[in-house]
């Protein structure tokens, strides 16, 4: 067992964990943050995307011990004061989700894309940026629109990410 500590969604957490425990297992099972999902076992689907030290990663492919000392934001941490993040609002407004299972990872990837590429994203850029996130319901059409709209809204209302 190994002792680890992280800041998750703005809160300090510590735990004794098996070295083989994945970050996603730590989030889901130890912290009960079940908004982060597991959709595959080959780091392909992106349902498990969270932000670690401000960058999007697939939490199914990181060991919890490797994130010792890190600052982690999950989908639950995007709207700490109850006010939705502009990207969350855009997903709802544009009907960018159906079953909702890929949605948390999709939103976390989308915000990361805006953080890296800016708030004015053309369709081709959005589609390329979402390459690591699978959705089986929407055909991506409305997700692309949502990411573009969310990006524009992030420019208007820069979000203070309390957790990051």
């Amino acid at each position: 067992m190994a002792a680890i500590g992280m800041i998750v969604n703005g809160k300090a957490v510590t735990a004794e964990v098996e070295p083989r425990l994945l970050l996603v297992q730590f989030l889901r099972e130890n912290l009960r943050l079940t908004g982060t999902h597991v959709g595959c076992d080959t780091s392909q689907c992106g349902a498990c995307v969270v932000h670690v030290n401000g960058l999007a990663i697939k939490s199914c492919t990181a060991l919890a011990v490797s994130c010792d000392g890190a600052t982690v934001t999950t989908i639950e941490g995007l709207s700490p004061a109850g006010q939705l993040h502009p990207m969350q609002e855009a997903f709802r407004e544009c009907h960018a989700l159906q079953c909702g299972f890929c949605t948390p990872g999709m939103i976390m990837s989308a915000i990361d894309a805006v953080n890296r590429k800016g708030t004015s994203l053309d369709e081709a850029t959005v589609r390329a940026e979402l390459e690591g996130n699978l959705c089986r319901c929407t055909g991506y059409h409305n997700i692309v629109r949502a990411v573009q709209a969310g990006a524009r809204a992030m420019a208007v209302r820069p979000l203070v990410q309390a957790a990051e």
């Binding site: 908004g35 080959t42 392909q44 159906q98 079953c99 890929c102 409305n142 997700i143 692309v144």
Partner: protein, 788 residues
């Protein structure tokens, strides 16, 4: 105008929990004392089990129990069932092998269930499962549906000689032969409808829990139809009577058919929770989903069309081999028969059709309904066939279709279906206009200048939704009725709970069902809650698949609302002291005609419960009504999709330049949601046509068993879609709705393959038309052109 009523693009009420990470999918649920199940699965496609040695595994840390098929049999747990009886053309019933939840003396596909290990943690269960030593006697496998019926092929089930489940047919063979004899032109296609793996992004999961105090079980499961699961687990598998079995399907992360079926893992987790005295949770990893979720499609077909000199279709002859896999899944038998052949007439007036289908066993995962289920296969056959016929006869493919469209309704096809309404030429005309068909030659010329091949392809699809009139499907072999139920509970303050037997796993019922209530009762949508997915709350239902929720489930709700309004009218008349037949109900307000007396719906609800102002011998207190609705007919959505593509012959890469869809779904409840359904369906259809395909090697190993090997459509594989609706309201249900969930997946493959073959001037390309396949075909057509 009610802003939250029918026809409005109301933003979805379920979204808040999904965008904030507050959804409750099965794997998000953890029961006190929960243990974890891991299945030991067959690594072989076909093998006899000589022995299963569990000694080492049983001693591993944390292990609570290890069970095999013998333990299930000892507890008299029944085997998995197929709920639709098909009779062969000789009148004999289908020949089905036994389908145990845990294997007996044989395994029949890679991923077949051999044993279950239950331990304190999932990792401990995984570790112990590795220690279960199964001694297999590996047998030769029969993998290809093309050859599995041949003499000398390994036999899967003694009950099914020649690996043949049934040899079924539909239509008039003699009439077809006569029409072909008089034909001026015959077009022929040989097609394979590639095998697909559904891949809902949420893997299947189950938690079984036994309550020693009540003797009852609860099963949390990723199901599209929890009541059917309860029925099967109770009545056929014998886990517990229905009153002692609660099935909960909470938030479910996509289904596409694959979560209709009752699977081994659900049986085992429920049963084992009593054996180990703990809740038992199982969650599939993606590899298990690939191996053991029911797959889709997998047809091999030859089809011929007979035409007169004007290109009028006289008859159709179709012969299909349908791969059903190693066991019959819950509705497997119906998919390539009654969900397939009755749609072979497409949108065309064809006097005679004859279809033969052999359903066959192979050493592969079971095959069952996947988005569209039989109807995409039928559309692919007829739409490839008319395209080839038009090209061979030198008639423009759009014009060829126009000449053959059905133009009056109702229309009785020669293959059971009775189309109730539609306007096929209108969809075609609109689609041609929206796709700028007139500008296509110029675009093609521009592509050619750049060394690219541009093509255009049509798909005029038809679908049968809203399954189904119970007597009709019963006469065809269905083991259940396919009505739907709804209950409306009005609270004393005028808020409403709707309990529906439909189940939402992405369709947005918490919004659309509430829109109907908001509209009918004239109350704000926030006052309406939709309850679904729990057999202890909703009395009975048949679930969601085949685009039936609006046409059948909401029709049941509409019927229950009729009863609510009728009773509330009685109450209002007594309270307002006006004759019942003068009470009017508009926009949520009851009024006495010719008086100034009014009551809101909320006032009447309260009075119904207070019950002071009417005679309770005449009118019962309370306001709660239920209804069962059995449809009169299937519904027949239709439309035209046009794909325009450009191929780079140097790389074989096909770029979708333009996707135009014009669909007729009848009346729309929520246009935003309908558009989303169409987008998703098109994406799955494009996936089938260009990217996806399950591949087994000759030994029966699934080569495409991960997202690294099976090509799922990603955002950068797809274009945006131009989607438009027309509307011929459906006369077969009170809402005039038809259903939209499968349309895109039905339409898209033929449109895309027709476009690719148009660009290549080469008919012979199989799905998936990968860059390699397209590159080869482009090279072949270049050689052919050079030779000419």
């Amino acid at each position: 105008m009610n802003e939250t009523g029918v026809g409005q693009s109301v933003r979805r009420r379920e979204d808040f929990r999904f965008i904030t990470g507050a959804g409750q999918y099965t794997d998000d649920i953890n029961r006190p004392g929960q243990a974890y199940a891991v299945f030991v699965r067959s690594p072989h496609a076909h093998a006899a089990i000589k022995s299963v040695d569990i000694d080492a595994a049983a001693k591993a840390p944390g292990v609570l129990g290890i069970f095999t098929g013998k333990d299930l049999a000892a507890d008299k747990i029944g085997t998995l069932i197929c709920g639709w009886m098909i009779h062969s053309k000789d009148g004999s019933p289908m020949k089905a092998g036994v389908h145990p939840a845990l294997a007996g003396d044989k395994v029949r596909y890679v991923g077949d269930h051999v044993a279950v290990v239950i331990a304190e943690t999932q990792n401990q269960a995984r570790d112990a499962a590795e220690l279960v030593a199964v001694d297999y006697d590996v047998l030769p496998a029969s993998v290809s549906p093309q050859t599995t019926q041949e003499a000398g092929q390994p036999l899967l089930h003694e009950a099914a000689p020649n690996n043949t489940v049934y040899q079924w047919h539909l239509g008039d063979s003699a009439a077809v032969d006569a029409a072909f004899a008089g034909a001026k032109h015959v077009a022929t296609v040989a097609l394979s409808n590639n095998r697909l793996i559904p891949n809902a992004i949420e893997p299947r999961a189950a938690i079984g829990e036994y309550d020693r105090g009540s003797g009852g079980y609860t099963l949390y499961t990723t199901s599209q139809n929890p009541h059917v699961a309860r029925l099967v687990l109770s009545a056929f598998i014998g886990i517990a009577p229905e009153n002692k079995l609660r099935v909960i399907a909470p938030d479910v992360g996509g289904g596409f058919g694959s979560k209709i079926f009752i699977y081994a893992e659900e049986v085992v987790c429920t049963w084992a929770s009593r054996k180990v005295g703990r809740p038992v949770k199982w969650v599939a990893d993606r590899t298990e989903s690939f191996l053991a979720d029911a797959h889709g499609r997998d047809h091999i077909t030859t089809a011929e069309a007979a035409m007169d000199a004007d290109g009028k279709i006289l008859a159709l002859r179709v012969k299909t081999k349908a791969n059903l896999g190693a066991y019959l899944s819950t509705f497997a038998s119906s998919v390539p028969t009654y969900l397939y052949a009755p749609l072979l007439s497409g949108q065309y007036d064809i006097p005679a059709i004859y279809c033969e289908v052999d359903g066959v066993y192979t050493n592969t995962a079971p095959v069952d309904a996947y988005r569209g289920a039989g109807r995409p296969e039928a559309t692919f056959v007829i739409e490839r066939l008319v395209e080839v016929a038009a090209r061979e006869m030198g008639i423009d493919p759009a014009e060829f279709r126009m000449r053959n469209f059905i133009r009056s309704f109702p229309h009785q096809t020669p293959v059971l279906s009775n189309y109730d309404t539609g306007d096929y030429p209108l969809c075609m005309k609109m689609a041609l206009e929206n796709a700028d068909h007139a500008g296509f030659p110029a675009r093609k010329a521009a592509s050619a200048k750049a060394g690219k091949l541009r093509g255009i392809g049509f798909s005029a699809y038809i679908e049968a939704c809203g399954i189904a009139p119970s007597r009709a499907v019963g006469s065809l072999g269905a083991g259940v009725g396919l009505w739907e139920s709804a209950e409306v509970r009005v609270n004393p303050v005028g808020t409403v709970e709707v309990l529906t037997g439909s189940h939402s796993h992405g369709q947005g019922h918490e919004t659309t069902f509430a829109q109907l209530v908001s509209q009918r009762l004239g109350i704000p949508i926030d006052q309406v809650s939709i309850v679904h997915g729990d057999t202890d709350k909703v009395q009975m239902g048949m679930g969601t698949y085949g685009s039936r929720s609006a046409a059948v489930g909401m029709s049941a709700l509409d019927k229950a609302l009729d009863k609510i309004v009728a009773k509330a009218t009685k109450v209002a008349s007594r309270v307002m002291e006006v004759p019942e037949d003068t009470v009017e109900f508009t926009d949520g307000v009851f009024s006495g005609r010719g008086t100034n007396k009014t009551m809101t719906f909320g006032d009447v609800s309260l009075q119904a419960y207070v019950a002071h102002k009417f005679d309770t011998a005449e009118i019962e207190p309370g306001l709660k009504e239920g209804a069962f609705y059995d449809p009169k007919n299937f519904t027949f959505p239709s439309g035209v999709h046009i794909a325009e593509i450009e191929i780079d012959p140097e790389t074989g890469i096909t770029k979708i330049e333009r996707w135009t869809a014009v669909d007729d779904f009848g009346n729309l409840i929520n246009p935003m949601i309908v558009d989303g359904q169409v987008h998703g369906g098109i994406a799955q259809g494009i996936g089938q046509a260009m990217l996806e395909g399950a591949v087994y090697d000759s030994a029966g190993q699934l080569v495409t068993a991960s997202f690294m090997d099976y090509c799922m459509p990603r955002a950068d594989d797809l274009p945006s879609f131009d989607v438009t609706m027309t509307n011929t309201p459906c006369p077969s249900n009170p809402l005039g709705v038809k259903g939209c969930g499968e349309a895109g997946a039905i339409a898209a493959p033929a449109a895309l393959i027709n476009a690719i073959t148009d660009a290549l001037r080469h008919e012979n390309i199989a799905m998936p038309a990968t860059p390699q396949a397209v590159w080869r075909a482009a090279a072949a057509s270049r050689q052919q052109l050079a030779a000419e």
